[in-house]
């Protein structure tokens, strides 16, 4: 087999794996449509579809939008995490590390407390403060006089996260305890129980556009993980491209979490798993990670809404499962070297 044939064969293998995983995730999504606690807990195929309006409503207005949102949010959070990791050339970075999640949380909580709790304002505020947090982290990192670029960036991210966390604490302190505080608390834990077609449509175009841009750059992301001078020398415009992709990934993340609440670990874990399965070349590991993100969130959400009589917030599950996977990956990395 010559070089071209080997390259072609490897590409075919990766494309086949991608399509297989996509098919499996979609199949699982259809299967999970029948999982729930109505009329009884477990998998139930409706026999009274045509006669029972409640059954139709539960399937079409509650479970289906929720599953669609899990697929969309998982893919978007994973794509953003992956992009951050490549842009900062650090496999341990995700939007949360640079204060974006805390900034968004503050923005959303602020709107809830101010009584402007409509989805569009919460989305706008979460996005705005998420971007502001990113800008603050980036600017602070350029001004710090300690350590290398990555260390400075992570330190400034910690500082910005802490600032927004304390601001969020103040907002929670003044929040009306019976409603606003509960809303904020549930938002902080993440959840898809409020998923509706209206909410999905309100973020769909931003999420699709963000994912399309990131997927468009999927190969160039490799180059942006190198030293800036190297990526410049192979015809890239690293400064411009980094800014564009950072904004796209941040907007995609903040718009998504503005309706799902904070869902951690997806953007950290699934890119790692994607690279394990597809190799480090982001042209296949980015779409692979996005499918894994969808799969991960779909499974977590289904567990969260079916296992107990009361719903387990998805953010708790992603954190729990994500942390376990993270420990396993890091233990494996110890043997293999880098990501």
């Amino acid at each position: 087999m010559n070089a071209q044939q080997r390259y072609q064969a490897e590409r075919k293998r990766r494309t086949g794996l991608l399509l297989g995983m996509l098919g499996a995730t979609l199949l699982l999504a259809i299967l999970f449509l029948f999982a729930g606690r109505y009329p009884t807990a477990g998998f139930r195929f409706p026999t009274d579809w045509s006669t029972n309006a409640i059954t139709r409503s539960i399937f079409l207005r509650i479970r289906l939008p929720r599953i669609v949102l899990a697929l969309l949010a998982g893919a978007m959070l994973s794509a953003s995490g992956f992009t951050f990791q490549m842009l900062f050339s650090n496999p341990l970075v995700e939007p949360g590390f640079l204060g974006v999640s805390q900034g968004s949380a503050f923005g959303a909580a602020l709107m809830i407390v101010l009584g402007v709790g409509s989805t569009i304002f919460v989305q706008l505020s979460a996005t705005l403060f998420g971007l502001l947090a990113l800008l603050a982290s980036y600017t602070l990192a350029t001004r710090f006089r300690f350590g290398g670029w990555l260390l400075r960036l992570i330190l400034s991210g910690i500082a910005v996260s802490a600032l927004f966390s304390s601001a969020l604490g103040v907002v929670k302190l003044v929040a009306e305890p019976t409603k606003d505080l509960q809303d904020i608390t549930f938002w902080m834990m993440g959840g898809l129980w409020n998923a509706s077609w209206g909410q999905i449509l309100s973020i769909l175009w931003v999420v699709i556009l963000s994912m399309a841009i990131l997927l468009g750059y999927r190969w160039k992301l490799n180059l942006l993980s190198l030293q800036e001078k190297t990526s410049f020398s192979v015809g890239m415009n690293p400064k411009r491209d980094r800014i564009i992709l950072l904004i796209v990934a941040t907007v995609g993340t903040t718009v998504t979490i503005s309706i799902t609440g904070l869902i951690g670990w997806v953007g950290l874990i699934t890119p790692h798993l994607g690279r394990k399965l597809f190799g480090s070349d982001s042209s296949t590991s980015l779409p692979g990670s996005m499918i894994l993100g969808s799969f991960f969130l779909l499974v977590c959400d289904t567990i969260g809404r079916t296992v107990l009589a009361t719903e387990i917030p998805i953010g708790l599950l992603t954190s729990f499962i994500g942390a376990i996977i993270f420990i396993i990956i890091l233990s494996l990395k110890h043997q293999e070297g880098k990501a």
Binding site: A3, Q4, Y7, Q8, M86, S89, N90, P91, G216, Y217, R218, W219, K220, N222, L223, S225, L226, Q227, K229, T230, F232, S233, V234, G235, M236, N237, R275, G279, S280, D281, S283, G337, K338, A339
Partner: protein, 251 residues
């Protein structure tokens, strides 16, 4: 036509430090030029300017102002071998060499089978073809340098800029890198490299530019320029240019 013309180039950093002062030199096509100087002389700043990384209106490439080149056009004309490269993701060797094909792809394009063939050939040229699927993080220091060369070979640009190409190599790897660079020069590539190693400069270059504290001491064919006097002035220490058989040695 000259491949490169630098005309009265000066450069001052925003902090006020003057790095280069009134540098002028011209490099013919297929020449091999060493920029020789001690640490902190301004060699890397000059290389950054020639790469287009730092902007300057005083540099022309193939008769056209460097600043008027588009990014991809410049990538097809100039390639950089940095002193070192940091990898935080374990790309395969083939993945990494394919990065050199970037100037030939559209904004959102991915490499084709033809690009892969060129990348394999580049790996073959530096003796790493059998490791094409290996992870980059498993390479030794010498193999890293060979990989950097493979990437710029795949980039197929007419001029190579090399920043201290052999400074961190053991003698065996240094010899391998030098052999490859000489082969590239024989194939018509214009080489421009920085070094503080006068022996390397004499061995690889046809012309030598000596830079001291940001100013050009001398520039010309190595036989005329590299002398006991110029080297002693350049390094502020006594150096001798001698011969052992046909080989010139600086000590």
């Amino acid at each position: 036509m000259n491949a490169l013309t630098v005309n009265h180039l000066s450069f001052t950093y925003p902090s006020g430090t003057k790095a280069l002062d009134d540098i002028s030199l011209s490099v013919g096509e297929s020449q091999s030029v060493a920029i020789l100087g001690s640490n902190g002389a301004g060699k890397s700043t000059l290389l950054d300017i020639l790469l287009g990384w730092k902007k300057s209106a005083e540099v022309s490439l193939y008769g056209k102002p460097l600043c008027s080149y588009g990014r991809k056009e410049l990538g097809r004309t100039l390639a950089l071998v940095p002193q070192s490269e940091q990898y935080n993701f374990s790309f395969s060797l083939l993945d990494y060499v394919l990065f050199g094909r970037s100037p030939y792809l559209s904004q959102l394009g991915t490499p084709s089978e033809e690009d892969a063939e060129i990348a394999y050939q580049a790996l073959y040229d530096v003796g790493l073809a059998r490791y094409a699927e290996r992870h980059i993080t498993t390479l030794s220091g010498g193999e890293h340098q060979l990989l950097l060369l493979a990437r710029v070979i795949a980039q197929q640009s007419s001029m190579l800029l090399l920043d201290e190409p052999t400074s961190a190599l053991d003698p065996a790897n240094r010899k391998r890198v030098l052999t490859i660079l000489k082969q590239l020069h024989m194939k018509g590539k214009t080489l421009l490299f920085t070094t503080h190693d006068a022996n390397l400069a004499y061995d690889l270059a046809s012309h030598v530019a000596m830079i001291k504290k940001g100013t050009l001491l001398c520039y010309g064919p190595k036989e005329e320029v590299v002398t006991t006097t110029t080297l002693t002035t350049l390094y502020d220490t006594e150096l001798t240019v001698g011969k052992i058989g046909t080989k010139t040695l600086i000590y």
